[in-house]
Amino acid sequence: MKERKIRVLIAKPGLDGHDRGAKVIAASLRDAGMEVIYAGLRQTPEMIVEASLQEDVDVIGLSILSGAHMTIFPRVLELMRENGMDDVLLTGGGIISEEDIQKLEKMGTGKLFGPGTNTNDIVAYIKEWCEKNRRAVEKEEVDS
């Protein structure tokens, strides 16, 4: 069996501005050996979850600068649950206050990253999460 690659979908939902930040993250994850599906700008939660489902990703990463994080993250979470994607990590970052981060993490997102985060921290977090969680899933599949 070949080495199982970590697959990540990166999107920048919302109607505002540019996707420079999302692209920088995408490139860092690629440089860390991951396969990054770049979905681009203006994605709705429905599009994000559908694309993630088709690509069978381990991780969904959203970059949100528009302030719409309190609607987008919960909606993506909801759609993930509807589609049975409980083994997929939802993470992301942008201009999000510490308070909102705590609320969203409580709702079930993974770790979220505020402004000025070092991309290395995000890479490390995703790697660690996949190592821990994927092994559990694979074990379950083999056992059943």
């Binding site: 069996m1 070949k2 080495e3 199982r4 690659k5 995408a26 490139a27 994850l29 690629r30 440089d31 860390a32 050996g33 991951m34 396969e35 990054v36 599906i37 770049y38 979905a39 681009g40 429905e46 599009m47 559908e50 694309a51 489902l53 088709q54 690509e55 069978d56 589609n83 049975g84 994607m85 599949e141 059943s144």
Partner: protein, 310 residues
């Protein structure tokens, strides 16, 4: 998901099961063989269309438009978009989806991005296995997008039923394409970005190059001009693809293609297996030692060759 569950859901039309099965096949997971056996009886002969051409030529934009045409004609669609893995880190940035947004939430369109993963001829195998999975799922038409450089990318395209080569007006493009072997494999040529300067000249250039190409059968590969961004020329391209399909069907060329594909896959598989078996880490070490000996002029190349294959 147990293997049986997964298959049941797959045949029930569950897109998530399709996605998972593709991963299993792509990863050469130990379960892949038995799954591929199970689905083989369900292959329905989806029409496989390869789209290739230089980086940034507009391949994804064209696929996006053609998918729309297929949907209007009532066909369900699978797309396999291949991008290169970095040989240094093994990572990949798969960006084709960005241009494939016209049918984004249509449940009968399934798009999957694949990285080349730098395997020895294994890419073509993996891509064809994934195409089989989509076929068994019930997709009528499957698009395979690859950049038209590199042997393994061209290998994938060669396995398609129809091949569309996308070129752009940039100077010397057609000459480059000829060198890369693209002129040989195209059934239909598209000059995209025809809104750009030099399009007419490039069009004539491509036509004159194609005239030099020996014709096989009665099909003369046409050249079409498109502006994929705003859809100009795409209906015409779709009609040409339909013409080509009928041309092949009437002459039994599709079953011939299928036979070629099977033959090719068996050969490639064997080659890969033999290589894998032969080229063990031990052999690699020995090879490195011999290489050094050659460079130090302690042995001749011929001697070393004989050592490896007496």
């Amino acid at each position: 998901m147990t293997p049986n569950d997964l298959l049941k859901r797959f045949f029930g039309g569950d897109r998530r099961a399709l996605a998972r099965l593709i991963s299993i096949v792509e990863n050469e997971d130990p379960r892949a063989d038995s799954f591929l056996n199970e689905i083989y009886d369900h292959l329905k002969g989806a029409y496989r269309i390869g789209i290739t051409g230089p980086p940034g030529a507009g391949k994804s934009t064209i696929v996006d438009r053609l998918v729309q045409n297929c949907r209007q004609a009532g066909k369900t669609v699978g797309v396999i978009a291949v991008d290169p893995s970095s040989p240094f880190t093994g990572g990949a940035l798969l960006g084709d989806r960005v241009r494939m947004t016209k049918t984004e939430l249509d449940p009968d369109v399934f798009i999957r991005s694949m990285a080349t993963r730098g395997s020895l001829g294994g890419l073509s195998k993996a891509a064809q296995d994934v195409a089989d999975v989509m076929d068994a799922f019930g997709k009528h038409v499957i698009f395979l997008e690859t950049v038209g450089v590199g042997q393994s990318e061209l290998d994938i395209i060669r396995t398609a039923d129809a091949t569309v080569v996308v070129l752009v007006p940039e100077s010397g493009d057609s000459v480059q394409a000829m060198k890369a072997g693209l002129m040989e494999i195209g059934d239909i040529f598209v000059l995209n970005k025809s809104d750009r300067q030099g399009a007419d000249l490039a069009y004539l250039e491509i036509q004159s190059v194609l005239q030099l190409k020996p014709v096989r059968g009665e099909w003369r590969p046409p050249v079409l001009q498109t502006v994929a961004d705003d859809g100009k020329g795409i209906d015409e391209l779709f009609r040409k693809l339909q013409d080509f399909y009928h041309y092949q069907k009437e002459r039994n060329i599709l079953s011939q293609k299928f036979q070629e594909r099977v033959e090719n896959r068996v050969r490639r598989y064997l080659e890969e297996q033999i290589l894998r078996k032969y080229w063990s880490p031990e052999t690699e070490k020995q090879f490195q030692r011999s290489l050094k000996a050659i460079l130090e002029r302690k042995k001749s190349l011929r001697q070393v060759l004989k050592e490896f294959a007496p």
